[in-house]
Amino acid sequence: MTPALSISHLRKVYKSGTVAVDDLSLDIAPGDFFGFLGPNGAGKSTTIHCVTGIATITSGTVEVFGIDAVKNYREARRHIGLSPQEFNVDTFASCVQILDWMGGYFGMGRAERKQRADMLIEKFDLTAHAKKQFRELSGGLKRRVVLARALIHDPSLLILDEPTAGVDVELRRDLWRYLQELNAEGKTILLTSHYLEEVERLCRTIAVVARGRVAQIGPKHDFFTEPGGLEQAYLRASGAAPELIAAGDH
């Protein structure tokens, strides 16, 4: 079966010489809920940026449903919805404009854009804020807008880079429920998060990245069979200091 996302020997070196991603390879099966973990600076966001076209690739290949994400980038991007870690929005635009424009970039007609935007605005409880400028919204509302934007073109592969960072418990739970619904409908989801509880609850496959490489990858239960569960497995795989790992055991 063609993977939803296939990354092979990906390497990304910034102009400064910093090696952000170093020979990273992984496959994500269609329909999977994939947790992408790692400490800050491990290369998670850079990998996502390489997949989505925000960053150029130094070497290696990325395929989205078998489509080369560099050579045939336009076709590959039609399948991806991205909710980035940092807000990358025209802050003077309204929620409605942000969704409408994103749908437009993806070639959706006016009626289709309006229908999807209305549905997502209602789904993410943004109706009362739909005409407000993005900069006027609270952090949680901004996060909802960015998530709705990622879904406007009904992508098959949803990439969520720390989608619940800075949001309240209620929204987090709502979001978990919605992501599970989307996954049940067949959407492939790649999720990065620093909340292990979130990954534990949602994901079926987990990869831990450290220093730009995949340190451990496998089904979720593999991580729980290790002593100390996911947290200890994460600390060990990410190369945390031994005393930190030991401290977690007590």
Binding site: I54, T56, R74, N88, F92, M102, Y105, F106
Partner: protein, 255 residues
């Protein structure tokens, strides 16, 4: 390659929406500036200067005033669009979308042309109040306004990609565009310059832009029309090739 017309139209709609957020800065400011130029050269200085090529001095300088503002409008619109999209990171919205580089570039250029044309028409309307608004060749007039705004829209795109801060955005305007446009024949003919400066006028592309527009408005010219048209096409083609290359390599856009 299939053109993403809706995507292209969306970039244009977005940028037009941004443009309409600042109508005073975009349109009223250049019109007031042009009004002051027209008043000074029409009523104050113009009356004391004899005719040039059979035309009143205001009629002679008006094409230059229009061109100065078209160049400014095009350059500022383009640099602002590209730089702000980078500065606020919403350029990433287009980078993750199925848009070609040509669509992204044309999406920047259309609002540039709209702003330039509206600016030029507003100045013509103001000049009409002083009895100095004539256009002899409408097609030629449109060519010069649209052609020059495309050239400076593309130059602004390059600067918008290159600039690392707001100050760098203004460097080209202050040190290159403003001086070259002022010495490009806005206020004088080449003959009025000292002989040793003639070569500078001939080497200055602004001279051809102003001369071409002047010909379309009052029929006065100091250079062959074909040469000016050729310079404009060549500059637009070179700039487009550079911008396309920058987009395809991700310069200033991608990490």
């Amino acid at each position: 390659m299939v053109i993403n017309w809706i995507g292209l139209n969306t970039i244009i709609r977005r940028e037009m929406s941004r443009l309409m957020r600042v109508p005073i800065q975009a349109f009223v400011a250049p019109w007031i500036s042009a009004l002051l130029f027209i008043f000074i050269f029409g009523s104050v200085v113009g009356g004391r200067i004899s005719q040039i090529g059979g035309h009143r001095y205001l009629e002679f300088v008006l094409p230059g005033i229009v061109m100065l503002n078209v160049v400014n409008a095009a350059f500022l619109q383009s640099t602002s669009q590209v730089y702000f999209a980078r500065f606020l990171h919403y350029v990433e919205e287009t980078l993750v979308s199925p848009l070609s580089y040509a669509e992204m570039i044309i999406g920047v250029l259309v609002p540039v042309v709209v702003r330039s044309v509206v600016t030029a028409l507003g100045i013509l309307a103001i000049a009409a109040l002083f009895g100095a608004s004539s256009v002899r060749g409408i097609g030629e007039f449109i060519f010069w306004i649209v052609g020059v705004s495309i050239v400076f829209g593309l130059l602004g795109n390059i600067i918008g990609l290159w600039a690392k801060n707001f100050e760098q955005l203004t460097i080209f305007n202050v040190f290159l565009i403003a001086p070259l446009s002022f010495v490009g024949g806005v206020f004088n003919t080449v003959d009025m310059l000292p002989g040793w400066l003639h070569w500078m006028a001939w080497a200055n592309p602004f001279f051809y832009f102003i001369n071409g527009l002047r010909h379309s408005m009052i029929g006065f010219t100091e250079a062959p029309e074909a040469l000016g048209i050729g310079v404009t096409f060549a500059l637009a083609a070179i700039m487009f090739a550079i911008v396309l290359r920058l987009y395809s390599t991700g310069y200033g856009l991608r990490e």
